[in-house]
Symmetry: C2
Subunit: 205 residues, 2 copies
DNA sequence: CAGTTAATCTTTGCACCGTTTAGTTATCCG
DNA sequence: CGGATAACTAAACGGTGCAAAGATTAACTG
């Protein structure tokens, strides 16, 4: 397919509004950033994109379906930032540290989005297979790094779950302000993470 | 105040319904168990307790205030189960294992209640100081156990946060079905937890 | 190019929700 | 006993997700 045909083909998705589906997701991200999850309703998204309240139902089967799409872009960004921050680091331990730090940093910088990504509404991901796949990218990054060690596949899988649990637990507790990093002298996240990973130095070859 | 006066004084709180406040909390726990968080509305609680929809506002300033009260009983039960499961264990490592296992077990057995306890609505606990205090009991149990080691207070505080993060992260991932324990051969939770804590055996003196 | 098809969007309306207000009733206390 | 007050009722407001039916318009087809 030529580049022009590509554009024409895309135009297929621009009926009345232009690209309402993308516009809704973008609007949701904006509302999320400014008002948090509570301010996120289909009606405000419809108003923000200049359509009536029922229009979104042409693109999403229900509200959760839209939220899943928004969360998916969140998981994509998260995986991207993790991958970026870990590039160039060859030591397994250092890579793990960077992956975890990126995870925490993303959550702190995009608090409402992070809350949506792990919200109760989307908890049952089997209803949203593509979301589950995208969310799995973060897991895959950790798993791939740990695979570089000389250990059995089963051991890698277990340690991945451990590191992920630690990372995710730490992050949620920080986001919910149940932990304040300042209490630990570690002004920046990296120092705190380094200390967190230290007990595993033996496992990380 | 005599025992009789005590009862009379309590009766002061039983005007029309009897004890609507407690009844609402109990009804909430029942609805939570049967229908999950989504089915939990003030109106169904009012109907369940045989009052009109505005009655709860005599006892709770708003819905979140009621949810906080429900969550508080949840945190009390959690701390109780953790304490019970850890009694009689003298080794620090064994106590930590039991505390963590109890945490996971409670969450799995009371999934919707656990979700409520760590829900977005109640995340800002500074609005609910008594809730924060009760929630702190679980933290205190871990902290107290780790204090038995010979280490600085600062070290204890850090390790407590680590263990708690690991425990909480693991639990939420299990509750949200992102981890399936069966994948690790560990049929029961205890075996899995033991393996999880193993890397810390050096730290746990 | 003209007519059909089918997707997008609007209109309207339902049921439910949290919350507020004003009024009623039962209990407490002097 | 009689006023004060807390607990509750009745009614209503604005907001929500969602479904059904109709209008509009872009895209496909002969």
């Amino acid at each position: 397919m030529s580049a022009v045909a590509e554009i024409v083909h895309q135009k297929k998705f621009k009926y009345h509004h232009g690209d309402l589906r993308s516009a809704l997701i973008e609007a949701a991200l904006a509302v999320l950033r400014e008002k948090g999850m509570d301010g996120l309703s289909l009606r405000v998204l419809a108003k923000a994109t200049g359509v009536t309240q029922a229009a979104p139902y042409s693109h999403f089967r229900d509200k959760d379906d839209l939220l899943a799409a928004v969360a998916e872009t969140g998981f994509q960004r998260l995986a991207l930032q993790m991958a970026e921050e870990a590039t160039g680091r060859n030591s397994v331990q250092e890579r793990i540290e960077k992956l975890m730090a990126a995870y925490v940093r993303f959550a702190v910088a995009n608090k409402p989005l992070f809350q949506l990504m792990f919200s109760r509404e989307l908890a049952v991901m089997k209803d949203y297979p593509t979301l589950a796949m995208t969310a799995g990218k973060s897991y895959a990054l950790i798993s791939a790094t740990l695979s570089k060690r000389q250990a059995s596949a089963e051991d890698t899988r277990f340690l991945t779950v451990m590191i992920w649990s630690l990372c995710h637990g730490l992050t949620t507790l920080i986001v919910d302000e149940k932990i304040k990093l300042e209490q630990f002298g570690a002004a920046n996240i990296d120092a705190f993470i380094r200390r967190t990973v230290a007990p595993f130095s033996g496992e990380l070859v």
